[in-house]
């Protein structure tokens, strides 16, 4: 889907619907730049929605604040962009501004996170991973590998109250239910390496019998590795580690045998977004929910995948 776009777009004067100059002006409101994952996500979008590909991208960073995001979307509406796309900070609270967009005739595409709205017509499509599924995949692998060994697991949760943290926890718990794996402790590490390390240190002080760590993202898992090594144990052997995300550092650790399993959460949403945006502008029917295919890697497949990893 790469046709000629040529000339860069002028203003955003076009009044909704089909752009007359063939260039699609897309306003994208990003959550922030809180993690490596997010940075990769942003990069993918910025690299795909280029002038060569027929886009004029307006990008704004909401610094993790819903109010900034709402404001950015309002501003896109007043500027009259062709399409609005955003990764919502929170699931709720979008009805009013989405209604405004709808009234202005501007289609909206969601990426990465869903919105919780009773009115599905407010947005065209939602492209993103299924966080519950990610948790489940991790849990299923754990059960498959270690059921029957009476493993004791600890969980490093993401930021309290954040959707990925809630969903991954839920998915993991439901998957391991019924097995003899026991989650003996669970604490938030705020998705960061440093906190992942401190919390893991605490777990290691507290419990002598940890067999497995489930971390809601790679960064906390990498922090846990540091803590485990500092305590004189071997990560990946003495204590198994399962994480989600599959960013480069995580994959490297997986390939090195320090992590046992990673469920991918694909940040490269740019191409999907570009395709959907074009379809929407062209008036084609698009699917309401596009689940990005998330792979999972064990130590073997990581070694293969690593050289070609983009992020």
């Amino acid at each position: 889907a790469s046709d000629a776009g040529g000339e860069p777009a002028g203003g955003g004067e076009t009044d909704a619907a089909a752009p007359d100059d063939g260039v699609i002006t897309l306003g994208f409101s990003q959550v922030g730049a809180e993690s490596g994952w997010r940075a990769a996500n942003t990069k993918s979008i910025q690299d795909t929605l280029t002038a060569e590909n027929g886009f004029d991208l307006k990008f704004s960073d909401a610094q993790q604040k819903q109010e900034n995001q709402i404001q950015a979307i309002r501003s896109y509406i007043t500027q009259g962009v062709d399409v609005i796309a955003f990764s919502p900070v929170v699931e709720t609270g979008w009805d009013p501004v989405l209604q405004e967009a709808k009234a202005a005739g501007i289609p909206v595409i969601l990426t990465d996170r869903a919105v919780d709205s009773s009115d599905e017509t407010l947005y065209e499509s939602f492209i993103g991973s299924d966080f519950v599924k990610e948790g489940e995949m991790a849990g299923e692998w754990v059960v498959e590998q270690y059921d029957g060994e009476g493993y004791k697991a600890v969980e490093l949760q993401g930021t309290t109250g954040a959707a990925p943290a809630i969903d991954r926890k839920e998915g993991f718990e439901s998957a391991v239910e019924g097995s003899d794996l026991e989650i003996i402790d669970s604490q938030t590490g705020n998705f960061t390496r440093a906190e992942g390390k401190t919390v893991m240190e605490g777990f290691l002080n507290k419990h002598d019998d940890i067999d497995l760590v489930f971390a809601h993202n790679d960064d906390m898992g990498l922090g846990a590795i540091e803590a485990i090594e500092a305590a004189g144990m071997t990560p990946g052997e003495d204590i198994k580690i399962v994480t989600i995300d599959a960013v480069k550092d995580g994959m490297q650790a997986l390939a090195d045998g320090k992590i046992n399993y990673i469920v991918e959460c694909n940040p490269l949403l740019g191409p999907d977004l570009a395709e959907i945006a074009k379809k929407v502008i062209a008036g084609e029917e698009v699917e309401k929910r596009i689940v990005v295919e998330d792979l999972a890697f064990d130590q073997e497949s990581a070694k293969e995948a690593l050289p070609t990893r983009e992020y």
Partner: protein
Amino acid sequence: MTTSAPARATRALKIPTRLDRRYLPVLGTFVVLALMLVLGGTRYENFLTPAVVSNLFINNAHLIVLAVGMTFVILTGGIDLSVGSVLALSTVVTAALLQAGLPPAVVIPLAVGAGTVIGLAHGVMVHYFQVQPFVATLAGMFFARGLCFLIAPESIAIENASFVELASWVQIFGGWRMSSSVLIALVVVGLGFLVLHFTRFGRTVYAIGGGEQSALLMGLPVARTKVLAYMVSGTCAGLGGLLFAMYSRSGYSLTGVAMELDAIAAVVIGGTLLTGGTGFVLGSVLGVLVLGLIQTIITFEGTLSSWWTKIVIGVLLLIFVALQRILTLRRT
């Protein structure tokens, strides 16, 4: 005795020239704000439109209310770090209670009242136990955030019909829009102004900022006033939460993280001294608009990466503060 009279008379004549100094910082902020608007207007299309200016108010109504409350506390020489969390608590309480089926008429006072109660606790800690305001309200900040998680870790949508109706009430004149939350915010600003300038409570707030010991020795009701100031701030935070709930039609426990810094920055940019005793509510409103404008400029710029966004916010803040500083220095 009589001989000194002429000498005094000449001195008395010189007074009016020194009078307006107190208004200078606010004036400075206003001038810089106007300058920025004009510059933005020449740089971006569609910038100086009623829609943008209306949005400036609509997007920041909750922050205006927070800043008004914060002004009271800062004027007494204190600070309230809890407003962001209390705002979140109020949104969560509103959403949770509405979800539970309670009518808005019951929910709204409860949500705002939660803020008042926390404010009261701050006031008591600060005044009666002489805990430093920074610490007392920092504890309050953790406390309110903790309550949020307890009540609802996940975000809750608000679907109550009458609440939604209230939230979506908008008056349109020409390109200008006035939402119910802006109206409430403006009323709060008006009340804040009246209370600070036309009541003994308000003047005592200033007196305490000028010197708590002095105010005490002057026989002013220091204890009551200080506690009340924190209650005002708590109430404003509760109300701000309500406005935010109207704005986002949801309650979420991670709302308003670091929003207290925005409120404090707005108050200080508006010319209020953190040491207390000088400043105006209207200045704080201007401060909020400055912050909002910075955000608007960022959006209009349209191509800033995440890091440049942060840097540009810092630089714009610097320009504002430095310009304001220069404007006020020149005239003194």
